[in-house]
Structure formats: C-alpha cells, structure tokens
Amino acid sequence: MLDAVLLFRDALYGALVIALACSALGVWVVLRRIVFVGAALAELSSAGIALALWLAGIGIAPSVTSHPVAVSLLVTLAGALFFGLSGARSRVPADANIGVVYAVAAALGILLIAKARSGEAHDIFLQGNILGITRGDTLVLLAVTVPVLLVHLAFYKEFLFVSFDRETARTLGYRVTRWNLALYFTLGLVIASAMQFAGVMLVFNFLVLPAVTGLLLSRSMGGMFAWAIASGLAAAVMGFSLSVPFDLPSGPAIIAVSGAFVLLAWAWRARGR
C-alpha cells in the first residue's frame, strides 16, 4: 500500500497543499455563511476552463485561450469581485445572486465543453484529476497559496472583525468593502488554482467540511483553524492512501473521509452536551 502511495507522492503533496489552503479559508466561508459562494466560484472557475477550450477550438485569441488556467483565474476573480461588491441593499437577495451564478456557470461549463474541439480529456480537466498532479503543479499551487495564507495570517484580526461585526468595524474606520473584496479575491485565487487539479466537488469539500469539523470540535478561533486544517490534511492523506491501493477515485475517497470526520466531530459534540 505504501509503495502505491509513494508512486503518487507528488500528487499527494499537491492534494495536501490544496487541503491546507482551502481548509484554512474555509473557516471564513463557513462562519460567514457563504458556503455556496465557494461552490459558485468553483463552478465559475470550471466554466472559465471550458470557455478557454471552446474559444481555442474556434481559433479566437489563441495567445490567451491556449492558457485555460489563466482564463479560469480571470473568470473566477471577476466572480469574486461581483460577490465582494454585492451590497446588502441590493434588490436581489445575496443567496439568490449566488444561485444565479452557480446555475449559469455550471450550465455554461457543460455547454461550452460540449462544443469545444480540443482533443483533451475535458471531463477530467473539469472534474479534476488529483492523481495527475506533478511536482511542477505543486510548486505552482504553492506559489499561489503560500502568499494567500501569509496575507490571511498577517491580517487575521481585520478579516475577523469585518466578518463578525461589519457595522462596528466600519465605525472604527475599517474599509469593510475593501476587506471583503480582499477576502473574496484570495478565495478566488485559491479556488481557481485548486480547481484545475481537484475539480468542483473536491474543492467544495475542502472549503466546507474541514471547517465544519473545526467548528464542532473547538470553542476558539485558533482551535477552529487548527482542527479545520488538521482534519483537511488528514482527510487528504487517508482518502488518498485508501484510494490508490483499492483503485477508488481519489476525490470521492477524500470527501468520504472528510464526511466521516464531520460525523465523528458531531458525535463528540453531542456526547459533551
């Protein structure tokens, strides 16, 4: 079993980087009750890849569209900007905006990929192929996620304040909209970089389930971050290790382990009551 895992160790390292970044940012996603922003951004990222493949297939702007990840990043960041600027005073409720983006992005991704002429394995590209992560891919992931995590570490208290009580933060001079944009922007960066390898389902899993485990197991913010990251990393290692020797798809195996952690955390919490 160990030999099989070692054979794919580069892929495991990549999965761990994705787990680390998504689990950490997922704490804000869960506490701010924006879990479907994570899903919608992941779908947008996926639609961005499909858009690039379709445009490349019909020969439009090949210098740009030959880089689907770059197009995906642009589309995701545009979505992050939209969600970050969606005000509370908008006529359309915030969750309805998220629903519209999610549905349209998911449909566009499928429609565009159906018409793309590129010969690549599109489905794998859209659904992710975690076993295909190379050492180079892991370095790219690190180049995106490490700066994002450092920004979150440095400005933890600012992100906390505007997430917990935006009105009071505003009265103390915090530019709440800018901090929200920074949060959505970094979230978009992580999602877009992780999406091409992990796919929508696994990215969404890492954004939500580890943070829920952390929330159930901890009574402090530090504890929630620690449990979220630890359970995200552990789910990646365990799911990956089980999937390779048993010939199971890695993404769903990791999600199943994450789900088991949530159940255990819930049982532990229920027992303590």
Partner: protein, 256 residues
C-alpha cells in the same frame, strides 16, 4: 459646551429618495441624548449619518476633531456562531488602536479585562459569547465600546427584546456611565417610555418629522400629540413619566 456632532440643514436618504430633511441640531460634549421613534421612522438613517457611514444628500454633518465613537450595535447584528470568548470580542474595540496587521498585546488584554470589570462581568471574560444571556451579551458589547476609550458612546436599541429586569439594569448601567464617567451618550430606541426616564434630552423622529429638546420640553401632551398625530397623555408615577395613547371614545350606537 463644545459640540461633538453638528447637523446643519441636513437631508438624508438613500439613492435619490430623501427620508428626512432640514435636520439642524448639535450633540454637545456631556450630552445624554435619546434618539427615539418607531421602527422605520429614520432613526438608523440619522445614526448612520452621525457615525459617518452615510453621506448626507444635502447640508453638512461636522464631527469634532479627535471624536471617537464607542458603538454598541443591536445584539442580533453580531454573529454568535463565531467561536469567540467574551474577552476576544471586547478586544475588538482596541483593534484600530493596535494597528493594521498587528496583534493585541498584554496591555490591550489588561484594558479589556478592566472594561469587563467596569460593566460588572469580569468573571465572564473566558466564557463563550454565545453562552451569555441577553443582558450579559449587551454588557459585553458595551465593554467593547468602552475599551476603545470613546468620547461618544452610541447604543443602538440596547434593550430590544430584553425582559424588564435586564432592561432596567442595562439602562441603569448606561446612566451610570454618563453620570460617573461623564461620558457623552447617544441611545437609539423605539421605546419612548423606557428612554424618557433615563436620558436628559430626546430627539423624536416620526414619519419624516424631527423634534429635539430637553425631556421636559418633549414629554408634554401637546408636543407628543402633535408629533404622533393622536391624543396622547403623559402621566407621572413615582417620579417616572409614562406616555399613553388616549383611549378613543366608544362609538354611540343610535338604533332608534
């Protein structure tokens, strides 16, 4: 006394729709003002203009140099899902003093504990905020406002949804902060009967109308009847003023 806040011919609203116009008043240093009116009358709009989070459509709002707000939001405005202790929340009142990207230090923690002691809940510092009662949560939020050393304490509906005991205790605490510490206080509330017996001045907002004055000046049957548009009685009981809507006379049936 110098004015901390001055409104001069201010029109307030959202988009192109004006909600209140011609607002001219001061909040002087040392004031204890109640901003009172029913829900939807425009209290929050005035409050946002005072805090500087809403720009006036016309006129000017002037804030004294060095003015620092201690803002106590409505209790349901903060999210109790966050795993935060009472001390964590109080420390937020120091965040802007701590500076961007820095963490609160030992002195900030010391001040947070002192603020909790000041509002009578020093023993709850390590408790989860979500585990507190309504009154205790309100005290924690007041402590957070105080720890930033404000010169104007602003409370938004501090007694909303509280029982009689908690309401009396919170209003008593706010009055104590004003009398003992000389803090300028602005209290926003929809409950005229509660506020009128604690504050020194009242600003009444009703359906686009605005009137400000001493409690004695505002709490008269003539002023209140004119503002509410219905006959109003102001009674006094054991030193407390109570406002009552006069009961409409029963209709006389004439079946003859």
């Amino acid at each position: 006394m110098s004015a901390l806040i001055s409104f001069d011919g201010v029109t307030l609203g959202y988009g192109h729709r004006a909600i209140l116009s011609g607002l001219t008043f001061d909040i002087p240093d040392g004031d204890f003002l109640g901003l009172v009116g029913p829900n939807g009358a425009g209290k929050t709009t005035i409050l946002r203009a005072i805090l500087g989070t809403l720009e006036p459509m016309a006129g000017t709002v002037t804030r004294a140099t060095g003015l620092r707000f201690g803002y106590v939001p409505q209790r349901d405005q903060v999210d109790y899902q966050f795993p935060l202790t009472v001390e964590d929340v109080v420390l937020m009142g120091r965040y802007d003093r701590v500076g961007l990207g820095r963490r609160p230090g030992a002195e900030d923690r010391e001040r947070a504990r002192a603020a909790l002691a000041h509002v009578g809940i020093a023993d709850l510092a390590g408790r989860a905020l979500s585990a507190l009662s309504g009154g205790q949560k309100q005290r924690a939020l007041i402590a957070r406002a105080l720890v930033g050393e404000p010169n104007l304490l602003v409370l938004d509906e501090p007694t909303n949804g509280m029982d009689l005991v908690s309401t009396t205790q919170i209003l008593g605490l706010v009055r104590e902060l004003h009398e003992r510490d000389g803090l300028t206080v602005l209290m926003v509330s929809h409950a005229l009967n509660e506020v009128a017996n604690y504050v020194e001045r009242i600003a009444l907002v009703l359906e686009g109308a605005f009137r400000i004055g001493d409690v004695d000046e505002i709490m008269t049957e003539r002023t209140l009847s004119a503002m509410y548009g219905i006959p109003v009685e102001v009674d006094s009981f054991a030193g407390h003023r109570i406002v009552l809507a006069r009961r409409a006379p029963a209709e006389v049936r004439n079946d003859a």
